[in-house]
């Protein structure tokens, strides 16, 4: 190995290429009191990325209502948790995998499903349903076909294999998604309320355990690429696309649930974006602990990986947990039974630092408090787009019959059966309403007469006209879809997909959409319990001109049906009276 020989110079230029601003790098220097190592710089850059730190969105998200008597855990945990009666809880969240799904639609969408599943079973829930909210470009563009085909196969390929039914979702087409499709995946799980697992680490000396698949050089910070040649072999070290392994995920679900039935687990966290870094930092910070990791013990798929690579790898199907020391061997046996790697890679300390050791060297030593507390928060300039003048009812140029047919054949309204016929919607044996069967999907809560209704909704063109309306309407539609099955709506998860927050007009859309969502949620007593933000959804043409996607605040929502004898669907009975409720 020639790491020392070819180590890059750590300076502002490298920091910039890692995505840090000049002010952010100055902050790093101040916190560290010295020049950081490459691994440390990598850790700062991912923890302070928009994706992990929510630096542009945080202060706006805080305005959303998150509480209700039935909310057990709101935003801040891996997923939201609500009481559904009988001592059970529904645990759910939605998450985006937009950019990877454009680069490699199959794997991008598949690993998106894998990631959201882990967020839910990490908390102790068995995943019982998946949904997916998809936005694609102009259907007449050749590339749209590639993306649609790959995304749908990928969602099916992963969900079908892990055995979680995919029961609902939505699909829109619009040219603004050319080159930037949206893949928002939602998972709903069910857990016993007294067996919910959180991520805050506790107990000095407790072992930190790595389980699941091995670490490779998957999806390592794109920055390594652009940042000088610090290794002659850099071609072979290019960030590689993450490939999902749903089979390993299925084993991981079963092994984790088996382990969680014991009382071995103190804290657990999935390795999502910036895998080992964010999971270790989050667990330790939330618990106010220090953490020390020995990277030599990390199960590795490739040889010669550096500390930097291991800390930033985004290999899939991995989890980090803190165990009770006396239960470690019992836990090991469970993971070995399921043919999964299990390794003690560190322990908790009282130092308040994250310390990374590798091959006898200390590769990183960062105080956790400032890493979290001094993470940048931006109050970005906002410019509101005034709502357009009301559109007058158009004259009827084509006749109602032609208009109706045109609507029916439009890609946004045409049948989605081609898509959901590729998703196993019945596995698990609890599906009461499949895609196409009702306004929301319905799943029975196993062993009870209760059902859970779930839906995803958003009409981006409304948001384009008026972002407040777009946010409020999405929430209201989700609420209506749940009630249409006979369910009592409980709570919302969201996936806020927007363009660049550095553009004040986009920021305006973002802020207004959140205000609309918040207003609707408050009016309907429908709190937000989890969510995800995806910014910078833009494409640039040859002239550098940016086109942002339509503002797309996708809403996922869950409701409960106390007795499935009273579930409704949307098939018209042969006889009956049609009633229209509300103003037209």
């Amino acid at each position: 190995m020639n790491t020392a020989v070819s180590a890059p110079v750590i300076d502002l230029e490298l920091a910039r290429s890692f995505g840090l601003t000049d002010e952010e790098y100055a902050k790093v220097l101040k916190i560290m009191g010295r020049t950081p190592s490459l691994t440390e710089l990598g850790i700062f850059s991912v923890m302070w990325s928009e994706h992990c730190s929510y630096k542009s969105s945080r202060r706006h998200l805080r305005t959303l209502p998150t509480k209700a008597p039935w909310v057990i855990h709101g935003p801040g945990e891996n997923a939201g948790v609500v009481d559904i009666g009988d001592g059970l809880a529904a645990i759910f969240k939605m998450e985006s995998h937009n950019h990877p799904s454009f680069i490699e639609p199959y794997q991008g969408a598949a690993t998106g499903v894998g990631g959201i599943l882990r967020d839910v079973f990490t908390m102790g829930a068995r995943p019982v349903a998946n949904l997916n909210a998809l936005r694609f470009g102009d259907p007449s563009e050749a590339d749209t076909k590639r993306v649609v085909d790959g995304v749908v196969r990928g969602i099916g390929g992963y969900g079908n294999c892990v055995g979680v039914p995919t029961v609902g979702g939505e699909v829109n087409f619009h040219p603004s998604y050319n080159g930037n499709p949206l893949v928002n995946a939602m998972t709903v799980g069910i857990a016993a309320q007294d067996r919910i697992f959180l991520s805050a680490a506790a107990g000095v000396g407790n072992p930190v355990v790595y389980v699941g698949a091995r670490t490779g050089r998957d999806g390592i910070h794109g920055a390594t690429m652009s940042s000088a040649e610090f290794d002659e072999e850099s071609a072979s070290k290019r960030p590689t696309v993450q490939v999902g392994d749903p089979f390993t995920e299925k084993l991981l679900i079963e092994a984790c649930l088996e382990l969680m039935a014991t009382d071995a687990v103190v804290a657990i966290q999935d390795m999502g974006a910036a895998g080992l870094t964010s999971s270790a930092v989050e667990m330790a910070s939330k618990g106010g602990m220090g953490i020390e990791l020995d990277l030599d013990a990390v199960p590795q798929r490739e040889s010669g990986m550096t500390a930097y690579e291991m800390m930033l790898s985004e290999s899939q199907e991995r989890m980090l947990m803190v165990l009770r020391p006396e239960r470690t061997e019992e836990a090991r046996r469970i993971f070995e039974k399921w043919d999964l790697d299990f390794a003690v890679i560190g322990h908790l300390t009282e130092s308040g630092h994250i310390v990374i050791r590798h091959r006898g060297q200390t590769e990183a030593d960062i105080p956790l408090e400032p890493l979290a507390d001094e993470a940048p928060v931006y109050d970005r300039p906002v410019q509101l787009t005034p709502p357009p003048a009301p559109v007058l009812a158009p004259a009827d140029p084509v006749g109602i019959e032609k208009a109706l047919l045109t609507l029916l054949e439009s890609p946004d309204l045409a049948s989605r059966a081609w898509i959901w016929n590729q998703y196993d919607s019945t596995v698990g044996g609890q599906t009461v309403r499949r895609p196409g069967g009702a306004d929301a999907a319905v799943i029975r809560v196993e062993g009870t007469k209760r059902g859970l209704a779930m839906t995803t909704d958003c009409t981006p063109r409304y948001g384009q006209a008026d972002a407040w309306v777009g946010g409020a309407q999405a929430v209201a539609e989700a609420w209506r879809n749940l009630t249409a099955t006979g369910a009592r709506p409980l709570a919302v998860t969201d996936n806020l997909n927007f363009g660049s927050p550095e553009n004040p007009q986009i920021m305006g859309q973002f802020v207004e959409a959140i205000r609309g969502m918040g207003d609707a949620c408050r009016a309907l007593d429908f709190p937000v319990v989890s969510g995800n933000v995806s910014l910078y959804n833009e494409t640039r043409d040859e002239n550098g001109q940016a086109t942002a996607i339509l503002p797309t605040p996708a809403i996922g929502a869950v409701g409960v049906i106390d007795d499935l004898a009273h579930v409704t669907g949307m098939q018209m009975p042969a006889e009956g009276t049609i009633l229209l409720i509300g103003e037209t």
Binding site: C161, K250, N421, S425, G428
Partner: protein, 233 residues
């Protein structure tokens, strides 16, 4: 009826099968881990659906070589009843307990939809609750369900009345060349077959998912009732 359900790494429809068997027989089946080899006391072994070993290499191939399949083979040789559904059917063909093989669906896509099945052989422990020509609905959910076998094997299966189920239309029309009726392109629209002694049965669709009245139609019940009757008698 004492039934055992085999769980391989990647099996995912075992809960559906437990629910169907328990609902109809009143007895909870025994769960058999793929490393077990003891099947004593069982009347029926079920290989449920899923993606054993991820369906990597070929669906069912790796499961077919696991320790429990040696025991299942012995169990079958001694006249035990074995039911394989979906991935279970694929495993039974890979283990040569049933003839033929299951290739990728003709349209190259995973198919999750309801299909109709026609009873061709009501004279088995699995089908005795139906009459020849009966049609029932069942969900299918698979990517590799395109049944194939050498022409002489197919002829022999027909001759010996070992084709248990065929894909058909809602009123029983069998059109092997038409994917509206034979969605995955199976040879001669074959959806399920029987072993020579008629005690091993495999089929691709999922009758177990249509057995609980609380969830919808119950078209799949006769399969499980047939089995219950067989082992009471």
């Amino acid at each position: 009826m004492k039934a055992g359900i085999v769980v391989f790494p990647g099996t995912n429809r075992e809960r559906d099968m437990i629910q169907a068997l328990t609902g109809i027989s009143g007895n909870t089946p025994r769960i058999l881990w793929h490393r077990e080899e003891d099947l004593t006391g069982l009347d029926l072994v079920v290989l449920p659906g899923g993606f054993s070993y991820g369906d990597y290499l070929r669906s069912g191939a790796m499961a077919a070589h696991s320790p429990i399949m040696k025991a299942v083979r012995r169990f079958a040789e001694r006249g035990g009843h074995v039911l394989g559904v979906c991935n279970g059917f694929q495993i039974l063909t890979e283990a040569r307990l049933l003839p033929g093989a299951l290739l990728r669906n003709a349209g190259m896509r995973f198919l999750s939809q309801d299909c109709f099945l026609k009873i061709e052989a009501p004279d088995s422990a699995f089908t005795r609750g139906w009459q020849k020509g009966d049609v029932f609905r069942a969900p299918m959910a698979h990517g590799d369900g395109n049944y194939t076998a050498a022409p002489e094997v197919l002829d022999r299966l027909e001759g010996e009345g070992r084709i248990a189920f065929r894909y058909c239309g809602p009123t029983g029309e069998v059109e092997a060349e038409d994917r509206a009726f034979n969605p995955n392109g199976s040879a001669r629209a074959i959806a399920g077959v029987l072993s020579e002694n008629r005690r091993v049965c495999g089929l691709m669709p999922h009758p177990e998912n249509l057995t609980d009245p609380a969830l919808g139609p119950t078209d799949g019940q006769p399969l499980f009732r047939s089995l219950v009757e067989t082992f009471i008698a």
